[in-house]
């Protein structure tokens, strides 16, 4: 606070220091008034405009569209047809919606669980490794993280290719002849497993590095003290490592849930929700209803329902974030 006042009290602009006292004071007062009351808003204007026009206004629109009947006909004629909550009724009354929702939740739960377990294992492992092996592991993790999602989907499709894929070749070599010509994308669960593997592969590095950062923050003495007190590996983990990583673990779990709940790219790029809609998740469902099917009303209702779940998660997450002092609005 004080520093800001000091800055404002200083002669602003190119006011010559030798100028008479009174005019300087007057100029200063005017400048201070202008600078401190209008300038911040002026500088924020482009950002506020962009966020307002491209994020807030569309959110308002989304709410309104979810209460409208908006198909191709209404879109062309520009008619406003309000239908109350009937879009929500239609969506919630559709068994397909529930099937897709359950599938999305199971898929998300599995991917998040796999990500957290593997990442925790890798973070703990990294602490024990020889420096050369550790750097090797870290480099491969960073590369997995950095590969763009669509490039990752093309290489996964190639690895899992029915005829020439290296996975089927390897399985055949190991004596599993049943996998010669096996198609991994012929049914929903198998397709979603491959997609889940792909997402996990790219999600683990961020989580593992975050947890590892927490682990190496623990002073060495604490481990030594635990050793002197005769603690076994499990007890040491419970008493020393766990308190250090538990807050980070909560935060990355939230982030993973938020990210994996809304994932579109990988699911779409692998099989467009197929075969027969068996790998369709909620974002794909919304796309198919709204953009491909031109039923914008129900699609907006689906988006609203997704948003509702995410807002609850986000509210809790931001609360955690603000409490963790990692983020400070001061």
């Amino acid at each position: 606070m004080t520093s800001t006042k000091d800055v404002a009290a200083m002669p602003a602009g190119n006011t010559p220091p030798a100028s008479p006292r009174v005019p300087t004071l007057r100029a200063r007062r005017r400048r201070k008034g202008f600078g401190d009351s209008v300038l911040p808003y002026l500088l924020l204007a482009p950002g506020v405009l962009a966020i307002g026009a491209l994020l807030i206004w569309p959110t308002v629109q989304l709410v309104m569209i979810s209460f409208r009947k908006l198909d191709l006909r209404e879109l062309v004629t520009g008619q406003l047809v309000w239908v109350g909550v009937s879009n929500y009724g239609d969506v919630l009354g559709d068994p397909e919606f529930w099937e897709v929702t359950v599938r999305t939740l199971v898929f998300m739960g599995a991917v998040v669980a796999a990500t957290i377990v593997v990442a925790l294992f890798i973070a703990l492992l990294m602490k024990q490794l020889n420096p050369v092996v550790r750097v090797l592991l870290q480099v491969t993790l960073v590369v997995a993280w950095a590969t763009p999602a669509v490039a990752a989907t093309t290489v996964f499709q190639w690895i899992f290719d029915q005829q020439y894929g290296i996975l089927n070749k390897t399985l055949a070599l190991l004596g599993f002849d049943g996998f010669i010509g096996h198609s991994w994308f012929s049914d929903g669960p198998s397709t979603l497993t491959v997609i889940g593997l792909l997402i996990t592969w790219q999600a683990v590095p961020f989580v593992a590095f975050s947890l590892y950062a927490g682990l190496i923050g623990v002073p060495r003495e604490q481990y030594e003290a635990a050793g002197i007190d005769g603690a076994g590996p499990w007890q040491t983990f419970r008493a020393v490592s766990w308190p250090a990583i538990q807050p980070i673990l909560t935060i990355v779990t939230f982030l993973s849930v938020i990210w994996d709940f809304r994932v579109f790219t990988q699911v779409w790029a692998i099989k467009q929700g197929g075969p027969d809609g068996e790998s369709t998740t909620l974002p794909i469902y919304m796309y198919l209803k709204g953009i491909a099917g031109s039923h914008f009303g129900p699609a907006a209702a689906i988006a609203m329902l997704m948003l509702l779940v995410l807002v609850i998660l986000l509210a809790r997450y931001i609360q955690l974030l603000l409490r963790s002092k990692e983020v400070d609005l001061k």
Binding site: G47, W57, F264, L310, V327
Partner: protein, 276 residues
């Protein structure tokens, strides 16, 4: 907690196996792109490539439209990065240096916006762009990408400006600089690394974006690289070498940029989190 030798050997073996598993898809992506088409589709078991060819890269580059898609991607990505950066710097300065009503509110808005699922806004943004006559026009995608990266850009730059001691600016002002001059001559140069890191993050986000590119650019000639690549069977059939080469060309800028800012990504994780 000293481990015995066999324990250490076992742990390091697990570490190496983990590294091989995590490195394999990218290794396979790159090696396949250098294999001859005959080798790619041979029944032979070939984990290690026997020869190197650039044939796949020339075939990928000569696919109809490839350079157009690459240019489209570059225009929308760089355009979004630049506009978000300008708006972000302008916003970061008052947020970090001035007290005014609404400041906390804006910061909170930015924090929420950067985590908010923009996918949920697909329908209204599609309709808005349609009404504005911007469907199949690169500016629409540029605007969406700017909105996608702006909250995060503001947040990061706010943090960077806050990290530069205000005393430096004050010293410059005592020496006769105006506030703007002090900012331009002292803070802005010190902000350099922060600007680089922020633009690289935005670049990766926009470069990887798929859903809006798919929906807003349905015209063949207006596609971006990731959307085109996701429909590779149209252009490549079973030319896996060509697909991998095109994927490598697409992945290289993101990979390089990612390696530059990798350390910052890990350390500044939760608030400025981006998913690679």
């Amino acid at each position: 907690m000293r481990k015995s030798l066999p324990q250490r050997i076992a742990l390091n073996t697990v570490g190496v196996v983990g590294a091989l598993l995590f490195g394999f898809p990218t290794y396979w992506l790159i090696t396949t792109s250098f294999k001859t088409p005959g080798e790619v589709l041979s029944p032979r078991y070939d984990l290690i490539p026997f020869s190197i060819t650039f044939e796949n890269f020339t075939s990928a580059l000569s696919k109809p439209g490839f350079t157009t898609f690459l240019t489209n991607s570059l225009i929308v990505t760089l355009g979004a990065v630049l506009t978000a950066l300008v708006a972000g710097v302008l916003a970061a300065f008052p947020l970090a240096r001035m007290r005014f009503r609404g400041r906390k509110g804006f910061l909170f808005l930015v924090l929420v916006a950067q985590l908010a699922p923009i996918e949920a806004l697909l329908i209204p943004l599609y309709l808005l762009m349609r009404d504005a006559g911007l469907l199949n026009q690169l500016p629409s995608l540029l605007l969406v990408y700017m909105a996608l990266t702006l909250p995060f850009t503001c947040w990061m730059l706010y943090g960077f400006v806050k990290g530069i001691p205000i005393e430096l600016e004050e010293a410059a002002m005592i020496d006769g600089c105006g506030r703007w001059q002090a900012f331009r001559r002292v803070t802005l140069p010190l902000l350099g690394p922060g600007l680089v890191a922020t633009s690289v993050f935005s670049f990766i986000t926009a470069w990887n974006e798929f859903l809006f590119a798919l929906v807003l650019m349905q015209d063949q000639g207006k596609r971006t690289i990731p959307v085109w690549l996701s429909t590779f069977r149209e252009a490549f059939l079973v030319d896996w070498g060509g697909i991998m080469a095109a994927s490598v060309i697409y992945a290289v800028p993101a990979l390089i940029f990612f390696l530059i800012v990798q350390r910052k990504l890990v350390s500044g994780l939760t608030a400025g989190a981006v998913k690679g």
